[in-house]
Symmetry: C2
Subunit: 434 residues, 2 copies
């Protein structure tokens, strides 16, 4: 095989970028023997030239002009690990337009303008790879794009945010409050100083949009994804869930809602906390691990499990893309990058779910009947109910059968308007594993 | 994209072949919209032309001359799902030599002559794909070959045989004997009339050889793989394991034994029952599911889980390969098919493990001391010990610390020679998850 090295220009040299440089240097012989490829990094764009760097970062390659890297005639593959939307978008566009292949780990960017970037890549006959954008080191995107390209995927349900899984696992396994678990996640380096993108669900939302687009072949964008975060989950919710055989997980769920044979491809994509039966593989995912469950008509149930974040696992995914990109460049071919028509999306308000609902009430005769009758009036059937004493109050906890979201909203509105009701203290959807 | 359909010649039309025909027919529009490819099946080689077939099998395509299919100028991709070693090997060789791409699900063949077939494919510039040969529908081979091509894989440990996992799960979950669990597996269609290839471990052995070759880039063949089956596992072994926090699983383990930095790549590949800590993801795999745990230096821990067998999941994996093959054919490129040098293999006799050992003895004073002293004499340190009463006998159950296999063999030999010992009733290695 040819020994002409493939030239890499790196945008960003934080955690992921530095680990990638280390792998490319330390493992260059392994990579060559396994793939026949040699790589050379010709430029590294950073914000601050003077910041201290590990020794495997060659300071001579550093530049604070990323626009030079994407335009350079000394670069074949632009690897973008700087993050952000602007100027990252413009840099990636320029890279593609000047004939570079792009490898990016930027989920937020892809979820917003992935379609535009793909279109540019198609128009110039170049590839854009993004394995590292979803579920870190887990080879999920390539599996969906290539191995399962002919599969009729019905659903993807996954834990795609390590921070929230760490927090929920700590609440469940160590009986911590949400606040204490969040503090622990920060201490352990799993949560950022401003954790809102993780705990409010926007990180998972971007990943859900990308997964749905890849799996269903229809364009789904960030703003198309319904999302609720985990900030309202309490220890009492977790306790109740555990006693009834559930774990609470923040799931990204992408699903086709048509009946088999119906070709209209109605798609729903959402991120919200979910009660997952404790014997389901997703319930067993602990710590900051990610896991994605894929259900296909032919393949049945698949699960992919691994490290969803962290410098090294993410760099490993970027490296896989870089090697694939080099193979395509060498042979002058590209991946299948089909233009995606917008998906026919179903809003969460049109869906049906099972629900866990906790209501704190004044502890007086007749209160339960008042609350329960509201479920009946809205045609919501109750699967199980439990009353817990809490000093002067009582907590009524319901799990419903399948019910339309609209009926549940009407029920909750009615419940909130009752004098005897102090608050709706818990509201979580129940994951249906079938 | 071009509309010229890619022509498929099928060798074999059993369960997998028929399901593939169904997918290619029923999902042709989906496949086209997702991949840009169209497929047409031009010939189907079967043993018996008169056997009844499902209606989606076009009888006009049937032939009982597979040698015509591999030589046909009307075939681009030969899909081999007929199984067996001969004449399958010769047919695949002829297919490659006459310029066809080959997709095969034949693990037994690949484990024995995969290197020779790869060499022929390389020499003629054609691909041979085999995703379906290991772990059925799970996209494992492509993940290892492409996504993890640059990864320093340290270990693969997996449940790659669904029949034995079904039997062991039934023994553990429903307290069945081995014989009853095997009968149940036969009834459920998970075990064949002659189950020996599954229960003796040879099916897993072939898959281990393929996985090691792909993951480590060195040739490992069927006969290089140490194997023990599950036929000697008893309910008492399972009970003890459960009480001590383990599940017993038949694991295929492929690992690099060098210290990091040592480039000699000493590899050990083995299949044997293992005590797996019950909180490890592999311990939780039930029914006939497969799961493969991959540990890489950069990516950390990954697990792939899904249906390892069955017509539809296997056909799904074959379809993924067919689509990938079509992409390569269209662009005139091939996968990286590197010639593999033979691996530097370490025999199981040179390894260290932890062991579970059960010894049935006459229930008399001094017997425990006699048995225990043999461990000491052979420098095997005991981690835990339990004595169980069984009428006139007693069972001594030991779990050792890490010890060389040679020391354990010497210990067992000594134990067997004691007058007070009736039998060594259990001997299982303990899986080290770290």
């Amino acid at each position: 095989m040819s020994q002409i090295p493939v030239r890499i220009g790196l945008l960003g040299c934080g955690n992921v970028g530095a680990e990638l440089l280390k792998l490319l240097t330390r493992d260059s012989e392994l990579i060559h023997s396994q793939t026949g490829e040699r790589f050379v990094v010709t430029a590294v764009a950073v914000r601050d030239l003077n910041r201290p760097r590990p020794d495997y970062v060659d300071r001579e390659l550093l530049t604070d002009r990323p626009e030079d890297v994407v335009a350079s005639s000394d670069v074949d593959i632009v690897v973008e690990v700087m993050g952000g939307i602007s100027p990252t978008r413009e840099l990636i566009e320029k890279a593609l337009l000047s004939g570079k292949t792009v490898v990016t780990a930027n989920k937020a960017l892809l979820a917003v303008v992935g379609a535009e970037l793909t279109q540019i890549a198609n128009s110039v006959g170049r590839d854009i790879f993004f394995e590292a954008a979803v579920a870190g080191g887990i080879p999920l995107i390539r599996s969906l794009r290539v191995s399962l390209a002919g599969e009729r995927v019905r659903r993807i349900a996954g834990i795609v945010n390590g921070t929230t899984n760490f927090i929920l696992s700590a609440m469940s396994d160590s009986d911590l409050s949400y606040e204490d678990a969040l503090a622990l996640a920060m201490e352990a380096g799993y949560a950022e100083a401003d954790p809102s993108a993780d705990v409010e669900g926007d990180d998972a939302r971007a990943k859900a949009a990308i997964l749905a687009t890849v799996a269903f072949g229809r364009l789904v964008r960030f703003e198309d994804v319904y999302r609720e975060g985990i900030t309202k989950i309490t220890s009492m919710d977790i306790d109740f869930a555990k006693r009834h055989g559930f774990e609470i997980k923040l799931l990204a769920i992408c699903e086709v809602l048509d009946q088999p044979g119906d070709s209209s491809q109605k798609i729903a994509v959402r991120v919200h906390p979910s009660l997952v039966p404790k014997d389901h593989p997703l319930a067993l995912v602990r710590d900051s691990f990610n896991a994605v469950f894929v259900t296909g008509e032919a393949v049945g149930e698949l699960m992919f499990y691994g490290r969803g974040a962290g410098g090294l696992p993410t760099a490993s995914a970027v490296l896989g893309d870089v090697i694939d990109a080099a193979h395509n460049l060498r042979y002058g071919v590209t991946e299948r990058q089909l233009d995606r028509e917008p998906a026919h999306l179903v809003s969460i308000h049109e869906m049906e779910n099972r629900f866990y609902i906790a209501v704190d009430v004044v502890d007086k005769p007749g209160v339960l009947a008042g609350v329960a009758s509201l479920f009946g009036e809205n045609n919501v059937s109750i699967r199980s109910m439990e009353q817990l004493d809490m000093n002067e109050e009582a907590r009524l906890v319901f799990i419903t059968h399948m019910a339309p979201e609209s009926a549940i909203n009407a029920t909750l509105e009615g419940i909130r308007s009752l004098d005897s009701v102090r608050r709706v203290a818990g509201f979580i959807r129940v994951f249906d594993p079938s």
